[in-house]
């Protein structure tokens, strides 16, 4: 088994930063363009590099350790995440789908991958959008576990989103640490690698699930998500919080209920999901209001015979704003 190395030692394959051109605009004029390049670099690194490591995610008092292995091959990237404490849970991602194993409930959840992940934005126009909503600049160079990292600061331009700090390896751009901050500048969550091997020879066996899916004990939930136009069904979001726009609309199965509408809004970084389903499909009956934990806020309210649930890594105001703006018109 490939030995994990502490962050201080690493193996690198050849890595080149891909140059790209940024459109110039007023928003960008006040942004440090090299900071934006860093974001692009970070994203490219997490996608294009092969790596394996252990990271710790912390939120409040809860801490969880996970192992991640990401291998890029001809057929595309493959990735496996596995929690290392308590009952092991896994996510396996390929280009086409995400499979999540939850052994505690003996459930396998399958989701079609709807495009690439959104953070940080990969397309130039998304970067521009990001710059409109956040003030992005470079911070100091700091050491994280033996690697010298460039700190990138994303400061929200209003109170409808959270702030972020990212630590990216100077050499490869790999994201080694990240923190999310609220409006009081208090840290909501953070993650950091404790062991990391970039490149070199990575054991493909790390990508295999430890579970046997053949077992009939698993309950399989396939989201069956398909693109749709919910406006045709009468659903609109009257207005979004500043900077947020709709990026996708889906019809999917959720928790055993089919035909659940799912709208995703984004400001280029933070995402807010809106779920719409018949109220009677929610058992036991839910209660309206806000539920929050750390960086996630969930706001629920009834609209006619339906139930709207809004989820996002955005402040409660944003989540409530969106929930209140959901309308049904026929």
């Amino acid at each position: 088994m490939q030995m994990m190395r502490p962050l201080a030692s690493r193996l690198l394959g050849p890595f080149r930063v891909l140059p790209f051109l940024l459109p110039v605009s007023a928003a960008l004029a006040q942004t440090d363009t090299s900071a934006l390049q860093w974001l692009q670099r970070i994203y490219t690194a997490t996608q294009k590099l092969s790596y394996t490591g252990v990271f710790v995610y912390q939120q409040g008092q809860q801490v969880e350790t996970s192992r991640i292995t990401h291998i890029v091959e001809a057929s595309g990237p493959r990735e496996r995440l596995e929690t290392l404490d308590g009952i092991p849970r896994e996510i396996i991602r390929t280009r086409d789908q995400v499979v999540c194993y939850l052994p505690a409930s003996m459930t396998v959840k399958i989701d079609k991958q709807s495009g690439t992940r959104m953070f940080p934005a990969i397309l130039p126009e998304r970067l521009k959008e990001l710059a409109e909503n956040y003030s992005i600049r470079k911070g100091e160079v700091e050491r994280v576990g033996g690697y010298d990292c460039q700190v990138i600061i994303l400061e929200p331009k209003d109170r409808m989103r959270y702030g972020h700090r990212l630590w990216a390896d100077l050499n490869t751009g790999m994201l080694l640490k990240a923190k999310t901050f609220d409006e009081k500048n208090e840290m909501l969550e953070q993650f950091a690698f404790t062991h990391l091997q970039i490149g070199g020879s990575i054991d493909r066996a790390q990508l295999k699930t430890r579970f046997s899916r053949a077992s009939r004990d698993w309950r399989v939930e396939d989201s069956g998500a398909t693109r749709t136009n919910l406006a045709e069904a009468g659903w609109t979001i009257r207005s979004s919080p500043p900077g947020f726009r709709t990026v996708t609309e889906l019809l999917r199965t959720l928790g055993g209920t089919s035909g659940v509408g799912h709208i995703v809004l984004s400001d280029g970084l933070a995402a807010i999901s809106v779920f719409i389903q018949p109220a009677k499909s929610k058992q036991p009956a839910s209660q309206p209001g806000l539920v929050r934990q750390g960086a996630i806020n969930v706001y629920m309210r009834p609209v006619g015979d339906y139930w709207v649930t809004v989820v996002g890594e955005a402040p409660p105001e944003s989540v409530k704003y969106v929930a209140d703006a959901v309308e049904y018109r026929k």
Binding site: M1, M3, M4, T46, V54, F55, V56, Q59, G60, Q61, Q62, V63, E64, I68, T83, D85, G86, R89, I91, V98, C100, P103, T107, R117, M118, F119, P120, R159, M160, H164, E183, K184, E186, E189, T194, R252, L254, S266, A271, S273, F275, K282, P284, S286, Q287, P288, G289, L290, V291, R292, Q293, G294, A295, I296, M300, V311, E313, P315, P316, E317
Partner: protein, 177 residues
């Protein structure tokens, strides 16, 4: 000193001493030797005799990636807290776990923010309270929403599944309390 080790082996050493001695065992080879010998004696008295495999296991352990399991949080893991809609309360309170700035784990403070953080939006109000209190949303449900949300979430970059892929059992346990 070795007398304390003898007591430690029997589980009869008091707390403070105990930690100190466990620490010493780490660095003091002679003390470790005593640990091994005391256990050998106990085993011999009980009639268990056999070759010592510790050295071989230790050698193999050197090549094993170090296991790192976080301390179980003193409070419920990822417990959800919803504002109970008690009759008569119009304004909400946001129930907030205060996050520690670093990795320390302070007591979470249950703060009641009557007007919500100052911002462009007004105070976050809970939905109209209904007669009696309904139970908060089943956490298993929220897990479903979070899972559905995850592919779009920036936390993908944090590569954490911690926040949403938690066991239903944990959730039910937390909800039940």
């Amino acid at each position: 000193m070795r007398e304390k080790l003898s007591a430690l082996v029997d589980g009869e050493l008091r707390s403070g001493d105990f930690e100190t001695h466990l620490g010493r065992l780490r660095t003091d080879r002679e003390l470790r030797g005593a640990w091994n010998t005391y256990h050998l004696i106990g085993d011999a008295l009980r009639g268990y005799l056999g070759p010592e495999i510790t050295d071989r296991v230790v050698a193999r352990l050197r090549d094993e990636p170090t296991v790192l399991v976080p301390r179980v949080a003193r409070f419920k893991r990822f417990s959800w807290y919803a504002m109970p809609a008690a009759a008569g309360i119009a304004a909400v309170a946001l129930v907030v776990w205060t996050a520690s700035p670093m990795w320390r784990a302070p007591e979470p403070a249950l703060g009641s923010v009557a007007s919500g953080p100052t911002g462009t939006a007004g105070p976050v109000t809970a939905g109209a309270p209904s007669a009696g209190t309904k139970p908060p949303a089943a956490p298993a449900e929220i897990e479903n929403y979070l899972l559905a949300h995850h592919p779009f979430s920036h936390s993908s970059a944090m590569q954490g599944i911690a926040r949403y892929a938690r066991s239903v059992a944990d959730e039910r346990g937390a909800a039940g309390k």
